[in-house]
Symmetry: C3
Subunit: 135 residues, 3 copies
């Protein structure tokens, strides 16, 4: 189950992934589900997996961009937290989404994290070249 | 934690945001997370933040449109509930998403709300010109 | 509430919907919320509701495609489980989403399911021609 549901705001000008990482560190969250993020961004860098093992292409977007939604997790690999988030963005003209590499908040980012009662773990995977969830 | 998970259907022809607002009023939900919505819409009006403070542009879409996903929250501002939802829609040709302003259900909308064990609050923010989550 | 939160990985080459169906069968999940899915796909078939009752159009996509997000539910109809998922996909050039008909995993699919403390039920609906959630 979710022991605790954390709902918090990331403020204008802050880097989204760094802010979530800091929040998790301060709150002692090492295992959780990113249930959702909505808000808006000034800029974003998304990554797209193109080939295995682990070949990514990155694309930069500049806003204002709506954060339509986001999902992901907080897990440990060798005792270090890995926060993995995919995010969907939009303008009236553009719809785009992918792996969240970097993003600067425009008006707000409203983040919901469900803290788990069991530990999620990642380990490196030779086939994908990525840190994959362990069963 | 989530005290209660509400999963309910909004029926054809109903206005989505009004229906969720009514459901929350009838069920006494004043603090919660919109975990998800899927289904389809006849029409939708989405808003996009263009500039601060609080300048939005709205766009109308007509369907049938799939509701791919949605996220958001139920919070109180001055004792009145504010339901804030971002939603992603699609047709075979179009992908669009943004702040949900209005929408009429086509076949169904399957809504999941997690009711929180603590009260989410909003207050007006001079910088963004919007009602922002309070820490 | 959510009795249990299941977070698990679907591996490369596996069919996503079949894998989730198998996981639910093995874990005895008959009522739940698909809280999220992220990862990447090799191929996907999405469906779009075009007219009522129940007229769908299907579109095939080939990847690699990011799984940006997904939402849905596990419910029973006549004692048989129905898993209903909508999913958002992307490449640097394409953003698409709809009803998940079929998909083959590329690198991984990280699935989060919240098992419910009450039974979700579906029944066929003459107006929509689909299996709709029962109140």
């Amino acid at each position: 189950m979710f022991n605790t549901i954390h709902v918090f705001r990331v403020k204008p000008g802050q880097e989204l992934l760094d802010s979530i990482t800091s929040y998790c560190a301060e709150s002692g969250i090492t295992s959780g589900v990113i249930i959702g993020i909505i808000g808006s961004l000034e800029t974003a860098k998304l990554s797209f997996l193109k080939a295995l093992p682990g070949k990514y292409q990155s694309v930069d977007y500049s806003g204002p961009l709506e954060i339509v939604c986001a999902q992901g997790s907080v897990a440990l690999k060798d005792n270090a937290p890995i926060i993995h988030i995919h995010i969907q963005l939009s303008t009236p003209e553009i719809s785009c989404g992918g792996h969240l590499a970097r993003a600067t908040v425009f008006s707000t980012a409203e983040v919901t994290i469900g803290e788990l009662d069991h530990q999620l773990m990642r380990q490196s995977d030779d086939y994908t070249g990525l840190n994959e969830l362990v069963d």
